[in-house]
């Protein structure tokens, strides 16, 4: 209600002529005065309601502005995230650590939750549908990237005595055991190792006895070493570290899920002891024996020779099977 039009001049004219003093005030003046008194009582309420209305209008406008800004920020965020995903897809090698990736996924999911949950109170809730579809896409993309990373997996089969339950496979690298687990599909436990050069070297190894053949131990390698093989570094060693069983061919990681190599060598301890016995008993054979050993170590260090030998052996096995 607008009372401004009905505003009446309530100023009292005190310039009274002498002849007017004794006159009675007209009725309309009396009524106007009475009305003005009532108006004064109700004007604070009107003022407060007016102020409330103004405040409400102001806050609503601010709300609208904030909503606009929020939708714009979310759009920018989604654009940036898509750009990041594309970049990571193009450059998988230069990818960041998995922990940061998970963090970005959490951030995106929290953003989508904010958009979906916080807009039920009265603000436009149209963004919830688009955010949910974006979330699905974002969930799929990191999984694809992880599978690309995990594709560098190789398997190596080692011969091990059934009595030996240590699950320690000596492949020339040094490992640290960080876990052991019994799986449902295999009664023998599975041991988890990581390279001793961790965290710089991210290679992990899982060792488990084969279900089909208990004398065979399967070692699954994930990742690539970013350091040379210790046997290559130790060129002058007399064979103390070569006690370890090197597979005939090195497990070459590839984009395929797994490559299989077989190590049919017996434990080197027994071989060394037998070779030492040979040397003690036959000193005349010492020199050629040393040469033979040197040839053997140099050939085993040669990766190409190992690969060729593995191919030949696998070819023979296929013929036999």
């Amino acid at each position: 209600m607008d009372y401004s039009s009905s505003w009446i001049n309530t100023s009292l004219d005190l310039n009274i002529n002498s002849h007017r003093v004794h006159q009675q005030l007209p009725k309309n003046v009396v009524e106007n005065n009475f009305f003005s008194l009532e108006m004064k009582k109700s004007s604070p309420k009107e003022e407060s309601s007016g102020a409330l209305v103004e405040e409400l209008k102001r806050v609503s406008a601010e709300n609208k502005k904030l909503t606009g800004m929020l939708t714009e920020m979310c759009e920018n965020y989604n654009t940036l995230r898509n750009n990041l995903m594309e970049y990571m897809r193009k450059n998988p090698d230069k990818e960041s650590s998995p922990s940061k990736k998970r963090k970005s996924d959490e951030i995106s999911s929290s953003n989508n939750n904010l958009m979906g949950g916080g807009e039920g109170g009265g603000v436009n809730g149209n963004n919830s549908e688009s955010s949910s579809s974006d979330e699905d896409q974002s969930c799929k993309k990191p999984m694809e990237l992880e599978t690309c990373i995990k594709a560098k997996v190789s398997r190596v089969y080692y011969k091990q005595e059934s009595s030996d339950s240590s699950l320690i496979v000596k492949d020339g690298y040094q490992w640290r055991k960080y876990g052991q687990k019994v799986t449902r599909d295999n009664p023998s436990p599975r041991a988890y190792f990581k390279c001793s050069f961790a965290p710089s070297c991210t290679v992990k190894k899982k060792v488990q006895r084969s279900v089909e053949d208990p004398s065979v131990v399967v070692a699954t390698y994930e990742g690539e070493h970013n350091h040379p093989h210790p046997s290559q570094m130790e060129s002058t060693s007399s064979g103390t570290n070569n006690r370890c069983r090197n597979p005939i061919s090195s497990a070459v990681p590839s984009s395929a899920p797994s490559t299989v190599t077989i190590d049919w060598t017996k434990s080197k301890c027994s071989n060394e002891s037998s070779s030492k016995k040979m040397m003690i008993n036959n000193p005349k054979m010492e020199v050629p024996q040393i040469l033979v050993e040197q040839m053997a170590t140099s050939l085993t260090k040669d990766l190409n020779f190992r690969a060729a030998l593995a191919a030949a052996i696998s070819g023979k096995m296929l013929h036999q099977s």
């Binding site: 309601s49 409330l52 709300n63 929020l70 750009n83 970005s104 929290s110 904010l114």
Partner: protein, 41 residues
Amino acid sequence: KDESIDELEEELKRVTAENKKLVEMLSVVCENYNTLRSHLM
């Protein structure tokens, strides 16, 4: 008039709370955006 004023006050409270929530959401989104941007860089 009293009722209308009460209604107005309630509406104002509701809108103010909504406003506050929007501000918080906006700050969170900004933080996340900055984090992602630094991650991309």
